[in-house]
């Protein structure tokens, strides 16, 4: 798979959800100035199964996260889990839109649609889209399992 720089930026704007989705497509690395510097073209890093949907009971393929996950996102994910009480990785993954879909899905658009449809959750007062909150929780769980 080959992603253009523009496509990569689009993925990056989806926050934690983009991390999860891109976990199937590759990984994004940002320098401190925000510049996207690399994106693997190797399709073998794509682990998200296109046959898996969020409505099946079959286990969802666990994505592999980028090598450098911001510790702040992990901390946020922990707060999401503490707030919602939902700590089952498979349950969270099934509820995540975009998983199992085209890895180029616009994560930012999914997040915006959550807000538009008022599918939001409050975490320490932060009004977050359900999808990005779940994604942060997934990130936290994966990292606790030493998979990030």
């Amino acid at each position: 798979m080959s992603l253009t720089r523009r496509q990569t930026l689009k993925l990056g704007s989806g926050g934690a959800l983009a991390l999860i989705i891109s976990g199937g497509a590759g990984f994004i690395d940002r320098r401190s100035d925000g510049e996207v510097v690399s994106l693997p073209d190797d399709p073998t890093t794509t682990t998200t199964s296109t046959s898996t949907t969020t409505t099946t009971a079959a286990p969802v393929q666990v994505p592999s996260l980028p090598v450098a996950v911001d510790a702040a996102v992990i901390a946020l994910g922990r707060r999401v889990i503490a707030t919602t009480g939902e700590d089952d990785l498979q349950t969270l993954l099934r509820a995540l839109p975009g998983i199992g879909d085209d890895p180029l899905v616009d994560a930012a658009a999914i997040v915006r649609d959550d807000f538009a449809q008022r599918r939001t959750v409050s975490v320490d007062g932060w009004v977050l889209a359900e999808s990005e909150a779940r994604a942060a929780a997934v990130v936290a769980l994966l990292c606790e399992a030493d998979e990030c």
């Binding site: 990056g12 704007s13 926050g15 934690a16 940002r30 320098r31 401190s32 100035d33 925000g34 911001d70 510790a71 702040a72 996102v73 901390a75 946020l76 707060r79 930012a108 997040v111 915006r112 959550d114 807000f115 538009a116 008022r118 939001t120 409050s122 975490v123 320490d124 007062g125 932060w126 009004v127 977050l128 889209a129 990005e132 942060a136």
Partner: protein
Amino acid sequence: MLTDARSLPSGTRRSADVCVIGAGAAGITLAMELMGSGLSVIVLESGGTDVEPDTQDLAAGDSVGRTLETLDNPVRLDQTRLRYLGGTTNHWAGFCRPLSPIDFEVREGLRRSGWPISHDDLLPYWDRATEWVRITDGDFGLDTWEQRLGLAAPAIGNARVEPFVFQLTYPTLFGLLYRSDLEASVDVEVMLHANVVNLATDDGRAVTAVQARTLEGISFDVTATAFVLATGGIENARILLSSTDADDSGLGNATDQVGRHFAEHLQVYAGFGVAESGAEALAGLAGDEVTIPSGRHAGNRHGAKFALGLTDDHLRDEATTGVEMQLLVGNLDAGRPAEEAGRAGTSEISALLGHRAESPESVVYLQALAEQELDPESRVGLGRATDATGMRRVELDWRYSADDRARVLGGLRTIAEAAGEAGWGRMQLIPGGVHADAIDNLVQGEYITLYSATPSEIDLDNFPIGVGFHHMCTTRMTDDRNEGVVDPDCRMHDVDNLWVAGSSVFSTPGVATPTYTIVALAVRLADHLKSVLL
């Protein structure tokens, strides 16, 4: 001319065509509008030309209902009003915004909502009010102001939320601004240190004289063809309730409506926001200055800025109350609040949004102002204690409900969701968890307040609600004398020669800051008085 009641012989009787009680935003606007009309005007002002503690004490009273407070600070009644020339414009923040059309409509499910006049009825008077409050004009359109400021309004908007414009006038102290005009006038006399203690009447149907007193004990009265009460939302009711010549319940109070429906703007220290798109998206929220192109104040500069509010359609569809949110830019220490350990703060959200290097300028403080539903039991009454003039002091029983609180939270969340939908960023709503640092810091020549965030203190059932010093609806304008005190001309339903000016006549509070509308209504009342008296 400016005179001082302390120089009058006790027992003096003065007369004029119009006697205006109070020289604040409403009273001075009335006087200026009537100046040169052929009508003689006496304005009675409690204070002098600067604050005087003994006079200020006349505004003191007991608050027996909801607590009056601002962020982390209790507020006394006498701190909410200023009794000297210019009135409470002497600490006016200068935010101008007209009411919205929805404010004039009856909203099903909201008690006593709506006015007996329409938004369109007030449009020409808001236009004329621009001259008195010193803003550019009555055009508050987003496109207009984006062009004038050269700044973009925040791109946050859907069917429920929209940006709007504040015009900011500063410092617009009516006493200072119009003092020379008042001094030079031959037909308007502003009498200082004149504390009104009674509206004398024989039968309760007409005022025969205003009885006033100085703190030195000089008593005098003023007769007039028309009398106008313009002393603020609390004092207007207090004077009516204290005027018991014909009825122990007060003047014009046969239906027991005087002082009821006291409303404040619910000020909520809501939390913080992190912008996804960086500091450039915040420029319109900080605003800028423009030059007034023409008119009385041509060449003066004043400010304008954008903020966010709920749309009329949303308020109508949901039968809910207005909420507006200012996103205050650049007044936070290093651009971000001190955060509570172990909680999600701006750093986490910034990381979520993909900012590895958090931009301090992208963090904003959220301050909200909200409308409350009218409650007849929320009221201005009289206590047992008396002041230095012998008048009974105010006893304020301010009330708001759990439903009001829920509507505020719903409105804030609606705005936060619109911000996320627009890709603007994320908002943290922690009412009760925002605290001001006790020490102000001097930053770039201005004193600012620092904030800390303690989400663990969020109490959605009991978070503190501050006040805007906006006292409204205590002599509300209605067609039905059983639901209010003045008619659509601002004349008392039951007193033929007594009119009321100021935000006490607001039928429904709305969420817009009130002074601009107070001035517009005063302009309108001046026209009415001319039509009646000339």
